[in-house]
């Protein structure tokens, strides 16, 4: 009898340890066919949306920051975008620029954490970042230094890098001092050569050839690379405001996950750095575009294995953008505009490190939250991850050993930098063969 007809593999990961979220992967293969593939996120609902009900709009930025220790700024910015939109407020160019700088800090620290401690060891053949660091100390040192610079940039405007407290509806609580900005500007400029080297290094790492067809969804702005604002766009030409999100994107529940899935036109879609670069590379400065093309990657890319290069490009851009925005910094006496709440529904979104983050708030006349809804990027990517795993495993070949299949699954999942990727090696293998 042909071996492929008798081989049955069950890869079941019951608990993903040391992760931001709690999840599992269940994979059952019979012969050359994947019978079951489920990314199971079973973390109990955290109920943040319910916590917000009855709270003042003024509390929202600090509360939603607690949703994620890695991308709190994204939650804060999407929230204030929604509430300021509802209240008819434009906080002005100073606030927009400083929010963008703060967001750059978050991108830098989040992306550098992922590249150096989570993703790179996979491709260099190490079981962990610590093992990799023994052989590549300079690489890891550079990564940690860049990550630290991102943290410090967040602290400059948010008072601290974890759950920062600088942002309020209408602007900021506090404007940084000019001499602190000048010191940061010097550090940002000095780090540009390091981030450029990071891009070239990530591009030099051999990656699997695994092109797939998928729809990219990301914000797009008329004049700048999408970070803290923009219209929601898709690679098929969709361009909508945040308020129209529900007309085009559908959230749905599946039995095996406590996180809602999302579809666009009844299909999975991609959000995140690769989606952003694929749709808005033309919004990058020429020198950054040139660096992108120097990598040898054909952009836009159809391979999720180019995600690490995409993150490195965004690190380099975020450093240069923050430096650009801080060049002519002026302290302002009032870093916020007055806010008068009004009843209604507000919509807002921004580009978290992991992709589009959409918020909707219903507010009463007193400014209290009546209803809140938050759609994070990892939730949106779930269906795409499962689709990618199916396609990628078939392309990789199902006859590989269980250990090889497990490692490949981990690589594919980590390309999306989901919160559950915080564990360096999270797939414990239980295989059954007949």
């Amino acid at each position: 009898m042909d071996e492929t007809q008798t081989r049955k593999v069950n890869i079941h990961v019951p608990v993903l340890a040391r992760v931001e979220g709690e999840g599992a992967l269940h994979l059952r293969i019979r012969g050359d066919v994947i019978e079951t593939l489920m990314l199971q996120i079973y973390e109990p609902p955290r109920l943040f949306e319910k916590f917000l009900e009855g709270r003042s709009f003024e509390e929202v930025p600090d509360m939603v920051a607690r949703i994620c220790g890695i991308c709190p700024v994204a939650y804060q910015i999407s929230a204030v975008n929604a509430l300021e939109s509802l209240f008819g407020i434009d906080p002005g160019p100073w606030v927009h620029a400083m929010r963008r700088v703060l967001y750059c800090g978050e991108w830098i620290q989040s992306h550098c954490l992922h590249i150096h401690l989570l993703a790179a060891p996979d491709y260099l053949g190490y079981e962990s970042a610590i093992a990799m660091a023994h052989d590549h100390p300079a690489i890891v040192r550079r990564g940690l230094a860049l990550q630290g610079l991102g943290n410090d940039l967040m602290t400059l405007l948010g008072a601290r890098s974890v759950h920062p407290v600088g942002i309020k509806v209408g602007g900021f609580h506090h404007a940084p001092r000019a001499d602190d900005v000048a010191a940061m500007l010097a550090r940002l400029r000095a780090a540009l050569s390091e981030s450029e080297a990071l891009v070239r290094w990530t591009a030099s790492i051999p990656m699997p050839d695994d092109e797939q067809t998928f729809t990219c969804v990301a914000l797009r702005d008329a004049g700048e690379y999408p970070i803290h604002r923009g219209r929601i766009t898709a690679s098929d030409g969709l361009a909508i405001d945040a308020a129209q999100y529900d007309r085009h994107f559908t959230e749905y529940q599946v039995e095996h996950s406590t996180a809602l899935y999302s579809q666009y036109r009844d299909q999975p879609y991609l959000v995140g750095p690769l989606a952003r670069l694929n749709t808005s590379a033309d919004r990058l400065p020429d020198v950054v575009q040139q660096l992108m093309h120097d990598t040898g990657v054909r952009w836009p890319s159809r391979s999720m294995f180019h995600s690490m290069v995409a993150r490195a490009v965004e690190v380099h851009y975020a450093l240069s953008e923050a430096a650009h925005l801080l060049e002519n910094y002026m302290e302002v006496p009032a870093p916020a505009v007055a806010v008068t709440p009004r009843a209604g529904i507000g919509y807002g979104c921004s580009e978290a490190p992991r992709g589009l983050l959409w918020h909707r708030y219903q507010v009463d006349a007193e400014g209290l939250i009546v209803d809140a809804r938050i759609v994070p990027p990892t939730s949106q990517n779930q269906a795409r991850i499962e689709e990618d795993l199916r396609l990628s495993l078939q392309d990789f070949g199902l006859r590989h050993s269980d250990e090889e299949l497990r490692l490949h699954c981990e690589k594919v999942i980590r390309n999306y930098d989901p919160c559950i990727s915080c564990a360096t090696h999270f797939l414990k293998l239980h295989a059954e063969r007949l």
């Binding site: 040391r18 954490l113 401690l117 970042a129 610590i130 093992a131 660091a133 023994h134 100390p137 890891v140 040192r141 940690l144 230094a145 990550q147 630290g148 943290n151 602290t155 601290r160 890098s161 974890v162």
Partner: protein, 171 residues
């Protein structure tokens, strides 16, 4: 001039703040002004790999963290070679924490020449719990011990002038 980092690690959950409380006691007690070295006192909230950065900038470091080893709450542990701690022994009360960060720092050659870890044994740490009497007593004792050791090693001299004092809000 020697750069000394005194780093309290913790989280906002009850006695898991023990490391922060020691750092805050040393800061309030004006330790920096009594030492000849550049002294930075910080409290870090589950820093993970970020702890490596703080170690990179120091010639000597004292780490203080809450620990679980099965002994009675309030027991103080001293580890003179903390980089040798096995990562999976779960000495720290945090999932990823001091042990992994030290291993990473060691791998990239960023460990300070002098490195000491103090652990304060704690019991259960819940979010709204008040400090336990045993841990409060240990915090005061450990702060006094660290201060005495630091003053003995880096006594302030008349000529020393550069004193750095870090903020002690958990970063």
């Amino acid at each position: 001039m020697t750069r000394l980092a005194i780093i309290g690690v913790g989280s906002p959950s009850g006695d898991d703040q023990a490391g922060w409380w020691v750092a805050q006691a040393l800061e309030r007690g004006g330790l920096s002004a009594r030492l000849s070295c550049q002294t930075r006192i910080v409290a870090l909230d589950r820093p993970g790999a970020t702890l490596v950065r703080h170690l990179c900038d120091a010639d000597a470091a004292v780490l203080i963290d809450a620990v679980h080893s099965g002994q009675a709450p309030g027991v103080i542990h001293r580890v003179d070679d903390p980089a040798s701690i096995e990562k999976d022994t779960r000495v720290s009360s945090h999932g990823f924490g001091v042990a992994s960060a030290l291993a990473l720092a060691s791998a990239i050659g960023a460990l300070p020449a002098t490195l000491v870890l103090y652990g304060i044994e704690i019991g259960a740490a819940s979010a709204d719990a008040a400090p336990s009497a045993a841990v409060s007593t240990a915090v005061a004792a450990l702060a006094a011990r660290i201060e005495a050791e630091a003053v003995a090693r880096w006594p302030r001299e008349a000529s020393s002038s550069v004193i750095l004092s870090g903020r002690i809000t958990p970063a």
